[in-house]
C-alpha cells in the first residue's frame, strides 16, 4: 500500500513538472499572444468587460484584451456583452435603446458586494497606462435591429474617434460578424485592422474577399490544418472558448496567433514555460 502511495505521489509530481514544449509557427512573429477574454474571462469574480477585469488581465501580464462593445442610442461605445441589460446588471432593456446618461452608474449584478459598473470604451482606454503596449480586440455586438446609413456612420465615427484619440491603429483589431459592417468601415477607414468573427469557411472567404487581417473562430471549430490554411493565405487566426486548461493547450498546439482566453493565468504560465 505504501509503495503504491509513493508511486502515485512521484508520478503526480513528475506529471505536474512536465514542460510544455510548443513549436509555434504563425503569422504573429511565431508567438501566441495571450489575450484576456473581456478581461479575466467567463467565470472570474470580476465581471466581464468591467474596468477591474480588464486592468486585472493586463496587470497579470496579458498581451492584451478582448472587449465586447455596444453602442448607445446617443452613439457612445460601451463595454458590455449581453443582449439584455438584466442578464448581468441592475438595469433592464438594451444598450441601443438607452443614452449613456441613462446607463451611467449601472452596476454589474454578478459579483457579491462588488460595486463594478458599466464603463464607456473611452474611459477604459483612458484608464490603461501605456495603451500602445497591448493588443486589443474590439468585438462589436450590433444588436440594434435598425441598421441604416445613419447607424453605420455613427458607429464608424465612434470607432474612429477612439482609435485615433488613443493612437490604437497599430495594435487594435475590430471584430465584426456581418459583411455590411466590414464593408462600411473599410470604405471610410481601410487602415483600421479587422477580423471577421463567424464560422470558419465563411470567415475565411470574407477575409480573402476584403483582405482582412484575420478570422476569429471558436477553438472547438479549429484544427491545425484549418489554421495552416488561413496562414497560407496570410490571414491571422484568433480563437476563443478556451475555458479550460486543455483548451488553452489545444489552441496553442493549433498555432493560432491570438488566444482570447478564459483561463489567463494558465495560458501565461504555459507560454512562459
Amino acid at each position: 500500500m505504501k509503495n503504491i502511495l509513493v508511486l502515485f505521489v512521484t508520478t503526480s509530481l513528475l506529471l505536474s513538472c512536465r514542460k510544455n514544449d510548443f513549436d509555434i509557427n504563425n503569422l504573429n512573429n511565431n508567438k501566441v499572444s495571450a489575450i484576456g477574454h473581456a478581461g479575466m474571462g467567463i467565470g472570474h469574480t470580476y465581471p466581464m468587460n468591467s474596468l477591474e477585469s480588464i486592468l486585472n488581465a493586463l496587470n497579470l501580464g496579458a498581451d492584451g484584451t478582448e472587449i465586447d462593445v455596444q453602442m448607445t442610442k446617443d452613439g457612445i461605445l460601451v463595454a458590455f456583452h449581453d443582449f439584455n441589460l438584466e442578464e448581468s446588471t441592475n438595469l433592464s432593456g438594451h444598450i441601443y435603446e438607452k443614452t449613456w446618461e441613462e446607463l451611467e452608474g449601472a452596476r454589474f449584478s454578478y459579483a457579491h458586494y462588488g460595486d463594478y459598473q458599466l464603463i464607456r470604451l473611452d474611459d477604459v482606454f483612458n484608464a490603461i497606462p501605456d495603451q500602445d503596449e497591448y493588443t486589443y480586440f474590439l468585438d462589436f455586438k450590433n444588436f440594434n435591429p435598425n441598421k441604416d446609413s445613419v447607424y453605420f456612420e455613427t458607429l464608424n465615427n465612434a470607432i474612429i474617434e477612439v482609435v485615433d484619440k488613443y493612437n490604437l491603429i497599430e495594435n487594435t483589431y475590430v471584430e465584426f460578424k456581418s459583411e455590411i459592417l466590414i464593408k462600411e468601415l473599410i470604405e471610410v477607414r481601410p487602415d483600421i485592422k479587422q477580423f471577421i468573427y463567424t464560422n470558419y469557411d465563411y470567415a475565411l472567404s470574407l477575409a480573402e474577399q476584403y483582405n482582412l487581417h484575420g478570422i476569429t473562430v471558436a477553438v472547438d471549430k479549429l484544427t491545425h490544418e484549418r489554421v495552416e490554411l488561413a496562414h497560407s493565405k496570410n490571414i491571422m487566426v484568433a480563437t476563443f472558448n478556451t475555458h479550460s486548461h486543455q483548451r488553452n493547450i489545444t489552441a496553442v498546439e493549433h498555432n493560432v496567433d491570438f488566444i482570447q482566453t478564459d483561463r489567463l493565468k494558465h495560458l501565461l504560465k504555459i507560454l512562459e514555460d
Binding site: 458586494y113 462588488g114 459598473q117 474611459d123 483612458n126
Partner: protein
C-alpha cells in the same frame, strides 16, 4: 415589502419576550464561534455570536463576522475587500432550533476609479435576512445549521442565497 418583513420580525421578538411561560432552559453556552459556508458573507465567513436567553425555549443572539471576497486587487496589490456581517437572530427550540434574523453587511471594497483606473475604497451597506434550522444539544457545544439567507445588495438587488453553519459554543 422590506418594512413588512421588519414588522413581522419585530412582532416575533416582542412575543418571545412577553408571551412565554415555559421554564425550560434553551441556552447553556452564551458564546459561539462559527464558520459559515455561503451565507451573509457571500462565499463564507467567520463569526462570533453572543446568545441571550429568553423565557422558555426562546433566545436571541447578535453576531458579528468577518470575511473577504478577494485579497489582492485588480493591480495585484494586497488590498483586501473587507466584509462585516452584523445580524440579530431570534431562536426557538431546545436541541432543534428554528431561527429568523436580519441585519446589515458592512462592505468595505475596492473598485476601479472610472476616471484613471486607480483602486478606490468605498463602504456600502447591504441588508440580509436569515431563516433556518440549527442543531445544538441542550448542553452540547457543537452547532450545525442550515439557513436561507437572502440579501438585498446595495439595498436594491434581491439575491437568493443560503448558508451552512458549523460552530462551537463556550
Amino acid at each position: 415589502m422590506k418594512f413588512k418583513v421588519y414588522l413581522i420580525l419585530l412582532s416575533f421578538l416582542l412575543i418571545t419576550i412577553n408571551g412565554q411561560s415555559q421554564t425550560e432552559k434553551s441556552v447553556h453556552f452564551k458564546n459561539i464561534i462559527h464558520a459559515e459556508a455561503g451565507g451573509i458573507g457571500g462565499y463564507g465567513s467567520l463569526n462570533y455570536e453572543r446568545v441571550v436567553p429568553l423565557p422558555g425555549l426562546f433566545s436571541i443572539s447578535g453576531r458579528v463576522g468577518l470575511t473577504t471576497v478577494r485579497v489582492y486587487d485588480f493591480i495585484n496589490r494586497f488590498n483586501p475587500d473587507l466584509l462585516f456581517p452584523v445580524t440579530i437572530n431570534g431562536f426557538f427550540g431546545k436541541d432543534h432550533k428554528v431561527h429568523v434574523g436580519f441585519g446589515q453587511l458592512i462592505a468595505n471594497t475596492v473598485r476601479a476609479n472610472h476616471t484613471g483606473g486607480s483602486p478606490t475604497r468605498e463602504t456600502k451597506l447591504h441588508t440580509h435576512f436569515a431563516i433556518g434550522y440549527r442543531y445544538q444539544k441542550a448542553d452540547g457545544r457543537l452547532i450545525l445549521g442550515l439557513s436561507y439567507t437572502p440579501m438585498i445588495e446595495f439595498q436594491e438587488n434581491y439575491r437568493h442565497w443560503g448558508a451552512l453553519t458549523v460552530g462551537v459554543a463556550f
